[in-house]
């Protein structure tokens, strides 16, 4: 092999290690030491990434994302009762319920919540993760409530205080409205439409026959006045009635962007297609348990890693040392990838990572054993090493293919509904897959370059 290529590869590896180390650094690493009269006191921290390239944005704050089992918190799996809702509207109804819940949680002040919807057979589900929340009762109260949509009209008996101006006046006007008998139950559906003349997005409301009557009454009473639509006691829109609407089909216009129109439709549908949610599974992890799990996993990882490193040196001497260096590089790159993707690390994910460390040496062992064999046959060192790498590749390829296949099934990337979509299992499959791919790189490319450069010469 051409030595200059090997040296180029070596620099590439150094470059990769440098980048990975920079990314992999803890958020703030204070370094303080004194050398004679020089004092060194500085904080080293990993950079924040915030790139923009045309329409593409890429920003990472480079924290390791911790799953619920490591950070503590509550996970609820909710099943939506959909028997009252027409089949065609079920997906919309679930989406609306999701929006309502995410707003309630935001108001409650929980950060980094995760709300996913999933469909499994005929079951519509929602998975809600609330990091840091251990009061499940409170969480269930927040989430389990069915959304309430109400229409309100100006109350002629309240006297609007003429002194208030600007937003205060608007506020007063809206919150002094009184309830009408029209509710979400009378609304069949809301949808985004486009105005035929201007092409602007508008929101269309379709009422039930019952709602048609009630709405006709309300609009007749309030021509030229505002009517408020409230979801969970919060106003979502306050349109002005232009003319009485008797046919049960209203249009709310007013310079919406498509995005804003969609948002309003989702909110309206939350009331029109109210979904009862039932808790089918709940998991709660105390914060101390999470911290405990992290520290134990780190300890287990360090102990395991040391034993593996020692073992490699004892059995393969210098080659083992090189494999260990490759292993450290493996660790650095993996950490950087975890932060970049970013991967939410859970306990099974950590297990997958530790397992992949064990497997990362696997390729090296196959190669070294093969090299030893060729040496025994009387080959020269350089030839034996090259043959070792060449011949071991076949086995390495096959051996990892089956593990990747299993990881694929476990991860279920296409969300096939006949397979599991459990977060825990996915976490394991993902870290295992990433581990295998990176370990092939470090086990073969990195260690081969290092061996050519420092061992064979």
């Amino acid at each position: 092999m051409n030595r200059s290529i090997t040296i180029k590869r070596f620099w590439l590896i150094i470059f990769l290690v440098g980048i990975s180390a920079l990314i992999g650094l803890p958020k703030n690493l204070p370094i303080k030491f004194n050398i004679g009269p020089w004092k060194f006191d500085q904080k080293i921290s990993s950079p924040e990434i915030d790139w923009k390239l045309g329409p593409w944005k890429f920003s990472r704050n480079l924290d390791i994302k911790k799953g619920l089992d490591l950070s503590g918190g509550t996970q609820l799996v909710l099943q939506a009762k959909m028997d009252q809702i027409p089949e065609a509207d079920r997906a919309v109804a679930l989406e609306s319920a999701q929006t309502v819940i995410s707003r309630r949680i935001d108001l409650y002040g929980v950060s980094e919540t995760l709300i996913q919807t999933s469909r499994s057979g005929g079951n519509y589900r929602m998975i809600v993760e609330l990091p840091g929340v251990t009061d499940t009762e409170k969480a269930k109260q927040l989430i389990g409530q069915t959304a309430k949509l109400e229409f309100k009209e100006p109350d002629p008996t309240t006297v609007i205080d003429g002194k208030a101006t600007g937003s205060a006046a608007v506020y007063q006007e809206i919150f002094s409205m009184k309830l009408t008998d029209l509710t979400g139950q009378d609304l069949k559906k809301a949808e985004v439409k486009f105005d035929q003349k201007s092409g602007e997005p508008v929101v269309g409301l379709i009422f039930t026959p019952e709602g048609q009557k009630k709405f006709a009454e309300i609009t007749r009473r309030n021509v030229g006045r505002k009517v408020g639509i409230f979801l969970d006691e919060m106003p979502i829109t306050v349109p002005v009635v232009q003319t009485p609407i008797l046919d049960g089909q209203a249009i709310i216009s007013g310079g919406f962007t498509t995005e804003a129109a969609k948002q309003l439709v989702v909110n309206l549908n939350a009331g029109a297609l109210p979904v009862d949610l039932e808790v089918v599974s709940q998991t709660q992890i105390g914060a101390t348990l999470g911290v405990d799990s992290v520290s134990k996993s780190i300890k287990a990882g360090l102990v395991g890693l040391s034993i593996v490193a020692l073992f490699m040196i004892v059995v393969y001497r210098k080659l083992g040392l090189i494999a260990d260096i490759a292993l450290v590089i493996y660790g650095l790159i993996t950490l950087a990838v975890y932060k970049l993707v970013p991967i939410t690390l859970s306990l099974p994910g950590i297990a997958g990572f530790l397992l992949s460390i064990g497997m990362a040496t696997d390729a090296n062992i196959l190669i070294f054993e093969r090299t030893k064999e060729e040496l025994r046959k009387g080959l020269k060192l350089s030839a034996a090493v090259e043959l070792g790498f060449g011949r071991a590749w076949d086995s390495i390829k096959d051996a990892n293919a089956t593990t990747l296949l299993t990881a694929f099934i476990l991860y279920n990337p296409f969300d096939w509904s006949f397979l599991n979509t459990s977060g825990m299992v996915r976490g394991f499959a993902l870290t295992l897959t990433i581990g295998i791919i990176i370990s092939l790189f470090t086990g073969i490319f990195v260690s081969r370059t290092l061996i050519r450069l420092f061992y064979v010469k």
Partner: protein, 297 residues
């Protein structure tokens, strides 16, 4: 390196496998696996109790207190410095009732971990799990058959794979009986991972046999298998040892929740290593002998 005559001891390997699998199957039939709440539904609460010195905190007292308040505990087990309580009950307020009950009779109770699953979800998960196992085994079977272009290697590798899953499932039936270890979604994940591991090692041995067959076409088949096994034994063991070191560390030092998972992977790795040398390779020899017998007839 001294060459060991592997072929000679084939009956011994089968006896060892037979005994291990036999014990496992016995446990499986007698006691069965202990399904965790995620498969059958129910509630698992891990609780820490700060004693108020009225009653010692012991299993009987916890059980008595709970049953006074109408909660039937299936299992009460001490776990680290807390207690694990499992009940079939999966009503939404069950953990609150448990906490209230224990706080009144034993001392302030706090939930460390809670897992509660409704029965429908459990059944569905079970179905999906079976599906995943079928998919993975068929996939691996097809891959091995394709790579080795013949039923002989494919089938033998699969028998070795079956051997490993039996050992793993059987030993967890035994562990479940002895230490109350439960089988959950992660256990299934471990089984699937082990299926691929098992083949992983077997492929290394088979690859070498194939290579030797090409290089020494005149040599006796059993001699070739014997040499291939000898040649690959060292790396097979070293390979697995590094994985075993990591898993052992995780099993011994890892957190309570991850231990059973690490243990399952550990048992699987050990049997996977054993089976590639002592099951998969001997099976080829047996297959070859049967073929010869047939030809002679």
């Amino acid at each position: 390196m001294k060459k060991i005559n592997f072929i000679k001891y084939i009956p011994l390997y089968f006896v060892i496998s037979g005994v291990v699998i036999g014990v496992g199957l016995f446990s499986l039939i007698k006691w069965g696996l202990r399904p965790a709440v995620d498969f059958v539904g129910g509630t698992l609460v891990e609780i820490k109790i700060i004693p108020n010195d009225s009653l010692p905190i012991a299993e009987e007292n916890i059980r008595a207190s709970l049953s006074m308040d109408g909660i039937e505990a299936d299992r009460i087990q001490s776990a680290g410095d807390g207690w694990m309580i499992r009940t079939k009950n999966e009503e939404e307020d069950v953990q609150k009732r448990i906490v209230d009950s224990l706080s009144t009779s034993l001392g302030e109770a706090k939930v460390v971990r809670l897992e509660s699953v409704g029965p429908t979800l459990g059944k569905e998960l079970l179905k999906k799990t079976v599906m995943a196992i079928i998919l993975a085994s068929v996939g691996i079977l097809l891959y091995v058959a394709y790579r080795f272009g013949g039923s002989k290697y494919g089938i033998c590798a699969d028998i070795a794979m079956l051997h490993d899953s039996l050992v793993l499932i059987g030993s967890f039936a035994l562990f479940g009986h002895l230490w109350g270890i439960e089988v959950d979604t992660l256990f299934v994940t471990a089984v699937l991972t082990i299926l691929s591991f098992s083949v992983h090692d077997t492929i290394v041995v088979y690859d070498r046999i194939r290579e030797s067959l090409r290089r020494y076409p005149k040599e006796n088949y059993e001699e070739i298998v014997n040499r291939a096994t000898n040649e690959t034994l060292g790396r097979s063991i070293n390979n697995s040892l590094t994985i075993i070191f990591m898993l052992l560390a995780l099993t011994v030092l890892g957190g309570q929740t991850i231990k059973p998972f690490a243990l399952a992977l550990l048992v699987g790795t050990v049997t996977g290593t054993y089976s590639s040398t002592f099951t998969a390779a001997p099976l080829l020899v047996i297959w070859n002998r049967i073929e010869k017998l047939k030809r002679r007839k």
